[in-house]
Symmetry: C2
């Protein structure tokens, strides 16, 4: 009976977030996961994941039901559509492919069956799909997990997986479509009893709230090469006072100008989101250390543009934005994607 209730879930991206989502969904027994990997495919396909998780304990050699290194092509592989597609890749609009083109082989433009969940950070990430997949229900997934891939296939999860699901607005669909899908997915995600998955009615609020952390600690740690613990210790706390808090207050003001009132104390909560002694590397710092591109446009660029359009002064965020842009350029140059004039002595 339980078997019959299972839905197929395609998870694209099996890094620190996607791997835990895959594990948690299969532990619940209400999902059959196909996991698409890229950089860690060889490691995981051979040895499985090695996961040390505060939710799931020590899990060695684990694999999802299916593991692959390409996006399934429904047409050429004659596959039925998935119940859910969970996009857990980075969302980096300044670097191709776009999320909409990435997901295309598994999601026909006229899809109405498959529910797409963007388990990604930042503002406005659903907007491209309104154009490419106008009738697809798109859900927002906000993960407050603390996890890190320390080597290909090795995941350390320090901080519990708390997932917030909600429907992005879509003028082409009834409001109920999205919220029913969110309820269904939350039930499947919670079935294992190890994690918390809530359904939210206010996605915009949730996204701005998480930006207080993500638009600030992510780039500051990435730019300075310090994890959040060290950042708080640096200069006896002066760096948090001088950079982190002012930037977070700017995000809160921008949210307010966009009609999202964040509660008093959100800055404090985000500064202390994890203990100093976790020495957590936010995803942007982990990416910089791996030589990967960073998600600075959705995390910094979009809230900056929204805030400035509403007349909010955001000097700290603006400077972080341009510094993150420099970090992105540095990565592009190191990857050989930028041509620069020859040195003259």
């Amino acid at each position: 009976m339980i078997e019959a209730q299972k839905k197929t879930v395609l998870i694209i991206g099996g890094g620190a977030v996607g791997a835990i989502a895959a594990l948690n969904l299969e532990v619940g027994g209400l999902a059959e996961v196909t996991l698409v990997l890229r950089s860690n495919y060889d490691a995981v396909n051979t040895h499985g994941f090695d996961i040390k998780s505060c939710d799931h304990g020590q899990v060695q050699g684990w694999k999802a039901s299916r593991v692959r290194n390409t996006i399934p092509n429904l047409t050429t592989e004659s596959l039925p559509p998935y119940g859910y597609i969970l996009l857990c890749t980075k969302n980096i609009p300044d670097i191709p492919p776009t999320p909409a083109s990435l997901v295309a082989p598994a999601l026909p433009p006229s899809n109405t069956h498959t529910v797409l969940i963007l388990l990604q950070n930042g503002l406005h990430i659903h907007k491209p799909f309104l154009a490419s997949h106008p009738t697809t229900p798109v859900l927002s997934g906000i993960s407050m997990i603390g996890s890190e891939e320390t080597a290909p296939g090795k995941i350390i999860q320090d901080d519990p997986d708390r997932l917030l699901i909600g429907a992005f607005p879509n003028p082409n669909l009834g409001e109920d479509a999205g919220s029913a899908a969110a309820q269904d997915f939350a039930r499947r995600y919670s079935a294992g009893g190890k994690t918390s998955c809530r359904v939210s009615g206010d996605v915009l609020h949730d996204r701005w709230r998480k930006l207080v952390y993500n638009a600030v600690l992510n780039p500051v740690c990435a730019i300075l090469g310090l994890d959040t613990g060290r950042l708080r210790l640096a200069g006896g706390g002066e760096v948090v006072e001088g950079v982190v808090r002012p930037a977070m207050r700017e995000v809160v003001r921008a949210a307010g100008a966009c009609g999202v009132q964040l509660e008093e104390g959100v800055v404090e909560e985000m500064v202390e989101a994890e203990p100093v002694e976790s020495y957590l590397s936010p995803s942007m710092l982990a990416d910089v250390r791996k030589g990967n591109f960073i998600e600075y446009e959705n995390l910094l660029g979009e809230p900056l543009r929204e805030g400035k359009e509403k007349g909010v002064e955001m000097p700290t965020i603006e400077m972080l934005y341009y510094m993150a842009k420099a970090v992105q350029w540095r990565t592009a140059e190191r990857k050989g994607l930028v041509e620069i004039p020859a040195k003259k002595v």
Copy 2:
């Protein structure tokens, strides 16, 4: 006859700036240089300097008249006082030893004979000497050289050595003492005909002017890990627009509030101080890459404090200051000088 005119010059610090100063003074024939080296002592003592200079050409295996790895102790070594002491070390007040205690063995507290020249960057660097050596004439040396030590004893000088000498104010001495010393030193420094050494009557103006470059390009390049050429190319020039120019304008406004009017166009001049194709690493970037401490207090902290005291808004400089403080802390931690709480998983 020329031999009789020679003065002894003790140069403390033989990195990219001190080595070129030593070479240039000895080429002129009016100075006999004792050069104190630290990290590159072994390399230079064995093989001499290998200098590729736009002023002096290719110079291989060169050594000053005397090379040593300790500060001469006039008392225990029974040495006569030097004519000049040129301090070419970094000036890092947050890390011991202080410049005044460093120079002490070669400069008695009651000295009136030796002229001290601080070939160092930043504001207010003469003030500690007013207390420790109240009767010593102290000159400001501002070097607009572009040079870099690429390996111990290997110096590449891309950009001509232009030195600006002037007397720091000292209420214990007549005004003429300092300016006569500045004239004498400039004559000796220019004697080789290869470099330009000017005497300035307005040291404060000169120092603020150089800060437009040093308070901005130094920390920005050090924080982002980009040389000045790459910084200008990054993001198609947007990083210069978004970070560098706003910060430079803040320094210009702070200077103005301190009574130093910098000419229109100084920002543009400093942004383009060297061609993109030089890919010059400012000293702070070179220091970060070598794992060394950076001079952020005199270059950023002092102008920030001066400007803020005068009521100037300096949000960009302030943020760079705190980020530089984080970089300094990161270096201290890597050197094992900071104890942090143990990681808890």
